[in-house]
Subunit: 197 residues, 2 copies
């Protein structure tokens, strides 16, 4: 009997994309349900009553929420093609950078977009500090796959952040990522429309 694997996601959401990417990397077949974030389905609210957000993974009737937690669940449930290193210390390092990028770094970048003009310079400075930290962590190392920092941010320049730029470039060049990521022009238009609301 086949498994039931469903992803409730939203177009352009890096959090949904991460979950889809992990499933694809492991070769797990799933159904994708697109949510309208302005009119969330009763199923989404039922499966994620605390945050009411995408993504939600539904596996054989049980729901898992929060992209980082879903990734851990996917890793433990489908063991082939690991998405985290096997050594506990390397795994801790990988989790550290996922948390840093998803938490401090993402919120600093979001601030750049949402700050009033007079605060923007400071916000850009803070975001650059975060990216510099990631940049230096990448120095001479290969980053682990599975995160979606490579969304084509204006902040990213190859002069300022050569390691990060190269990683992003390598990451989005993988066919499995290319298939999943929305076309850049459409994504930029989508983000601009969202920001102007």
């Amino acid at each position: 009997m086949g498994e039931e694997v469903k992803v409730f996601g939203a177009w352009g959401s890096p959090f949904s994309s991460k979950v889809e990417l992990a499933l694809r990397l492991k070769g797990v077949l799933y159904d994708y349900i697109e949510e309208d974030l302005n009119n969330k389905s009763s199923l989404l609210l039922q499966y994620n009553p605390v945050y009411k957000k995408v993504p939600v993974l539904l596996h054989n009737g049980k729901s898992i929420t929060e992209s980082i937690i879903i990734l851990e669940y996917i890793e433990e449930t489908w063991k082939a093609y690991p998405i985290l290193p096997q050594d506990p210390n390397d795994k801790a390092m990988a989790r550290f950078w996922v948390n840093f990028i998803d938490g401090k770094c993402s919120s600093a970048i979001r601030k750049v977009a949402f700050s009033p003009e007079e605060e923007r310079e400071k916000a850009v400075e803070e975001a650059c500090e975060c990216l510099k930290t990631v940049e230096s962590a990448l120095n001479g190392k290969k980053f682990f796959g599975g995160d979606t920092i490579g969304m084509g941010l204006e902040l990213l320049s190859s002069e300022k952040f050569p390691n990060l730029f190269k990683w992003t470039d390598d990451f989005v060049s993988c066919s499995i990522v290319t298939e999943l990521l929305p076309p850049r022009d459409k994504l930029v238009a989508h983000i601009k429309a969202h920001l102007s609301k």
Copy 2:
């Protein structure tokens, strides 16, 4: 040859206590190094250059930072006496509540202490909403051990949050927790001194 296990912590920090508690629950012997947060040691800055915070776990010369990530590392490295459920779905639920309490809930509670008086009522309301969510999740269930929400917050009343109150009470009554937690009167004095700075 014995293992080197060291915890860099700070008195009264629930994040340090969590790490110590996990090690004690698993029977792992460790050395504890108290950090002066007003004058951090060069070792702390070396081991946690990104956040410069306690706790840090040092295991055979390698450092792990961020309490949640340290707990995952401890769980994977010393497998006896698991601190997380074994079933992937139950484990995802446990991680969900750890994230919710450490993230949204903690920051709402911190806001109550740090808000200016005119914003305090709203902050209390938000914190109560968070606690209500945890309260209803505990309904008829036993919570998993390893989190330190039970620090004697004024917000916690047995009438408003009976499940949470009972869990807290049960949690702090365990001898392994009692041994570790600072005496309530000293902790309250410490927090008050911190708030009045």
